[in-house]
Structure formats: structure tokens, C-alpha cells
């Protein structure tokens, strides 16, 4: 699943100190559940994003353990408190061992 994976993150660029912001994230991933059969009737092996971790300067915002019950192209919307300027880091962990990351700097006025 290494090919064609795209991550998308939406959050404000600038906030006031201590503000709570909404973050929307998405990764393009087929989230193969492992319960489907191919045309020959053989099971298609599971291949999903099984963990998503969002941190700000090393501190966790949310940490998700994900099962095959989450839809294709997993989307998550949540809120974070911004204690000061810094960088949000997003990591998606694939079943195949790959970790897709994205980051966004945020400035404080």
C-alpha cells in the first residue's frame, strides 16, 4: 500500500495562545478489512492503517488504535489546545510497517 498514499491535514495557521482548534485529517488508504474474497474466492489479506497519533511538540493530542471497521480513506476530526507556537505532527501506521507522517507549524499571535 506504499503507492499513492496521500495525507491531508487542515488546521488554522495562526491562533491565540491557549486556543482550542479543530483539526481535520485524512489519508488515502483502501483499508482492506481482511474479510473480503477475491474473484477466485481466496481471502484478500488485511491491510489497514492500525494507528494514528497526533502530537504537538512531543505531547499527545489523540492516539487512536484503529480496526478494520473504519472506512476507506480514514478521516478524523478532533480538537487540540495550542499552548504556544510549535509544530503538530501526524503519524499514520500501516499494517505493512510503513509510517506516513505529516506536520504543520502553527504560530501564535
Amino acid at each position: 500500500m506504499a503507492a499513492g498514499v496521500k495525507t491531508r491535514v487542515k488546521l488554522p495557521k495562526q491562533v491565540r495562545e491557549g486556543d482550542v482548534i479543530t483539526i481535520k485529517t485524512l489519508i488515502t488508504h483502501r483499508m482492506e478489512s481482511g474479510h473480503r474474497l477475491d474473484a477466485q474466492g481466496a481471502p484478500i489479506p488485511r491491510s489497514i492503517i492500525h494507528r494514528f497519533h497526533c502530537t504537538f511538540e512531543g505531547e499527545t493530542v489523540v492516539d487512536l488504535e484503529i480496526g478494520p471497521g473504519i472506512s476507506t480513506n480514514p478521516f478524523f476530526e478532533f480538537q487540540a489546545r495550542v499552548p504556544g507556537p510549535g509544530v503538530f505532527t501526524f503519524a499514520w501506521h500501516d499494517d505493512d510497517g510503513a509510517i506516513y507522517t505529516d506536520s504543520r507549524a502553527i504560530s501564535v499571535i
Binding site: V20, I21, T22, S33, H35, R36, T55, F56, E59, T60, V61, V62, D63, L64, E65, I66, G67, P68, G69, I70, S71, T72, P74, F75, F76, E77, F78, Q79, A80, R81, P83
Partner: protein, 145 residues
């Protein structure tokens, strides 16, 4: 037969192993693929009583497309929450840990529902209690979860 030191050692090592290997209930992980509904609940609550209220699970009453059902969990103050679909082939769907920088204990996503069922969410509160909310959803086209 005289009691030899090595026999004593063998027995005590065996006893130690037996003590440290936990029972199945304790081994269970919340997100275990083959876990049943009860096992997921036990693994998450660890025996704590479950109370209705103080958390909410939002889902449409009718899901036209079981492949993409919008779902939102809101559990003010919660440390952890778990989303459970008892009618899916894999019952545990999502486990959320809210970190110190979570701005609220709310998360929205999209889930698969294999059939019409009562979707369940549990949240662990700071005092160690567990809150629960259940939402019945009619699924028109089941999403192979």
C-alpha cells in the same frame, strides 16, 4: 525418593510461571480482532461499573451506505473511549486515547457497518467509572467490515 534441589527448583519455577501468566480475561486487548462484544467490554472496563449518560454517540438513524457512516463520540473529561460495532465481523472499531493537549474529548470519523445493529461507545472517566451510550442504526446496504 530423596527430594533433590533440582526438583525443588523445577517446581518453584513452574509455580512462578503459572502465577505470572494471566487469565484470558486479563490477556484480552480491547482491539483484539476476534474478541466478542463481552470480551471487548471486559477488556475496556476491567470490572468498573458502567453508567449511562455523560457521554454521547452520534450516528444517523438510517445509514444508506454501510461503507461510510459518519460517527461522532463526545465524552467530556474522558481519558479513553472505545467504539464498538457488535454486528461487524470485527467488533472493536476504534480506541481513542485523549492526550494532555486534546482540546475537547470529541472525535468524528466514518465507520463501516455490516448490518443493522446497536452501535456502542464506552468512555473511561477520570474517577475510574465508565460511561456508555448506544445508538441503533438501520443499515440499508451493509458495508463489508
Amino acid at each position: 525418593m530423596p527430594l533433590r534441589r533440582r526438583d525443588v527448583m523445577r517446581v518453584s519455577v513452574g509455580a512462578l510461571v503459572a502465577l505470572t501468566v494471566p487469565a484470558r480475561a486479563q490477556q484480552l486487548l480491547v482491539m483484539q480482532q476476534d474478541a466478542t462484544l463481552d470480551e471487548v467490554i471486559v477488556a475496556f472496563t476491567d470490572g468498573a461499573p458502567i453508567a449511562e449518560g455523560s457521554m454521547s454517540l452520534s450516528l444517523p438513524d438510517v445509514a444508506e451506505d454501510g461503507y461510510r457512516v459518519p460517527v461522532a463520540i463526545e465524552a467530556p473529561q474522558a481519558e479513553e473511549a472505545v467504539l464498538i460495532a457488535p454486528g461487524n465481523p470485527v467488533v472493536p472499531v476504534l480506541k481513542i486515547r485523549f492526550g494532555p493537549l486534546a482540546g475537547s474529548q470529541k472525535l468524528s470519523t466514518r465507520m463501516r457497518l455490516a448490518q443493522t445493529q446497536d452501535v456502542l461507545a464506552l468512555a473511561r472517566m477520570p474517577g475510574g467509572t465508565v460511561a456508555q451510550d448506544t445508538q441503533p442504526v438501520s443499515v440499508i446496504v451493509g458495508g463489508c467490515a
